[in-house]
């Protein structure tokens, strides 16, 4: 296997995940943390939790967007290199959930950044989160292939 194919193959198998907590209630965050711990262990899919947006391939967002973290979320998203996938965990991140009518809440995160995978639940179960992340890796692969084609066309 050449180096190029090797990189292509391993790309999908080891996405790095960045978790950002918008204004969530913690319920979903601790479930995401629980995914990393021995019982659920998302590292078996090669997913590693990182703290730096420039290292990350998948952005996992929990909670609704409020007026203050709107900018930060956008910032983090912009800093991530292409291809990137966004996973919205919990009903909060999808629509605003229980907080929808509160004055400081703008709504689901899709009002600010494009979302690829929605994971429902309040809080979403670890199984559902892992499933969502797995879907995200497939989308990541698709995006990666598309990007490769675009590069070939440009050549």
């Amino acid at each position: 296997m050449g180096l190029k194919e090797f990189i292509e193959k391993s790309f999908k198998k080891s996405p790095w995940v960045l978790h950002y907590n918008c204004s969530s209630c913690n319920g979903c965050d601790i479930e995401i943390l629980a995914c990393m711990t021995p019982l659920y262990d998302m590292e078996r899919f090669g997913m590693v939790n990182v703290g730096n947006p420039k290292h990350a391939d998948i952005l996992v967002v929990t909670g609704t967007v409020n007026t203050r973290n709107k900018e930060i979320l956008k910032n983090i998203y912009d800093q991530m290199p292409d291809p990137k996938v966004v996973v919205a965990v919990g009903v909060c991140a999808a629509t605003g959930g229980v907080f929808r009518e509160a004055y400081n809440v703008i709504g689901g995160i899709d009002k600010v950044i494009p979302v690829d995978v929605y994971v429902p639940g309040c809080p979403a179960k670890p199984e559902a989160i892992i499933d969502g992340l797995y879907k995200a890796t497939e989308i990541l692969k698709e995006k990666y292939e598309k990007m490769g084609k675009a590069e070939e066309v440009l050549k």
Partner: protein, 363 residues
């Protein structure tokens, strides 16, 4: 030559790998010493207190449950107790005991979670994984008895909405026995491990007097030797159960860790007592759809300390004002007091020593 002891400002957070939640601290440091610290919040502020104008008092239970995912059962409990006192209904005895059981199971889960995060904060990842593995057993108990893992929403105004039957109670006791065994191991580690002591003994010291005057609550206060525990006021079924507030004298992070570890054993004991005394009877009583006018304060001991609920109603379906003073909000003053003078490397440990819950604080 450049003089090295100039002051510089270092931002800590909001997106920090140690913390699951966004907290932002501006630290003014001189060499490696923190001289001043200014917190900045607002990344989680949603404005839940004002939702009382849009949701009626029954629906509000679910909103206060979502103030914080970690101690959600206790938020619901204190809100329900406040409304029940306002209406003047007496909750069935069985519901009171069930509330205690769920609250105490929640406390164990919260303390284990905190313990893991603390271990992670000082770079002991193995211990983080260990304590979260023990925690999964507790989550199983919650899921089996209440139907959800984290936010269980068992409380409603007038009682609880789910029951634990005898069979299940037996199973819970069995599981708790296993949890207790693992906790004993954890206790041994905490008492003997060099790394833990190295990073926590003497860090973030609050004297008895300081803690009291700064208005600290919960383990932060009890770790400094002040025996204040809201459960001794005997709300729900605590008046019939036998326990003493747990205190430690030293007032540092290690003492607080010990308090929390001991509280987990205490919680297991309380669940056992409550299950053995569980009376027969109804789960909830019906309440009238309209509230009388009045003001009520209700206080409940959460894993992080005392929570304060103030409600005011002028009649009708909607409350007039709801105010929540959460434990972390009360402990902020202690944190601001501890940070100056510490070394930069200790900041994550210091932030975690009060067991911060930002989404509580900001609501």
């Amino acid at each position: 030559m450049i003089r090295m002891s100039e002051k510089s400002t270092i931002p800590f957070g909001p997106q920090h790998p140690v913390l699951p939640e966004p907290i932002h601290l501006k630290l003014v440091v001189e060499d490696e010493k923190v001289v001043e610290a200014y917190p900045a919040f607002g990344f989680v502020h949603r404005g839940l207190e004002l939702l009382v104008k849009k949701k009626d008092f029954n629906q509000m239970v679910y909103v206060v449950d979502h103030i914080c995912g970690i101690c959600s059962a206790m938020h619901g409990q204190s809100y329900c107790q406040a409304v029940e006192e306002l209406i003047g209904v007496e909750v069935p005895e069985r519901a009171k005991y069930l509330r205690v059981i769920w609250a105490e199971i929640h406390r164990i889960h919260s303390h284990l979670l905190w313990f893991g995060l603390l271990a992670d904060a000082f770079g002991f990842e193995n211990l983080f994984m260990l304590s979260w593995r023990i925690r999964e057993k507790i989550m199983d108990i919650l899921e089996a008895t209440a139907g959800n893992r984290v936010i269980i929403s068992v409380n409603i105004v007038g009682g609880v909405r789910r029951d634990i039957d005898n069979e299940q109670a037996k199973w819970v006791l069995n599981e708790l026995k296993e949890v207790e065994e693992s906790l004993k191991e954890l206790d041994k580690i905490v008492r003997n491990n060099y790394t833990i002591k190295q990073r926590t003994v003497g860090v973030g010291v609050l004297s008895k007097d300081e803690a009291y005057k700064l208005g600290a609550v919960g383990p932060t206060l009890r770790g400094s030797g002040v025996p204040i525990d809201m459960r001794t006021t005997g709300y729900a079924a605590y008046k019939d159960l036998d326990f003493e507030p747990i205190v430690e004298k030293d007032g540092d992070t290690y003492a607080r860790t010990i308090v929390r570890v001991k509280e987990m054993f205490q919680s297991i004991d309380l669940v056992r007592q409550a299950i053995s005394k569980l009376p027969e009877g109804e789960l909830n009583v019906k309440v009238k759809p309209n509230l009388p006018a009045g003001e009520v304060i209700s206080r409940v001991e959460q894993p992080r300390g005392e929570v304060f609920y103030y409600i005011k109603s002028t009649g009708g379906k909607y409350l007039d004002r709801l105010r929540v003073r959460t434990p972390t909000f009360a402990n902020l003053a202690s944190l601001l007091h501890m940070l100056p003078g510490s070394s930069l490397a200790d900041v994550p440990v210091l932030v975690l020593t009060i067991d911060p819950c930002i989404s509580c604080t900001e609501r």
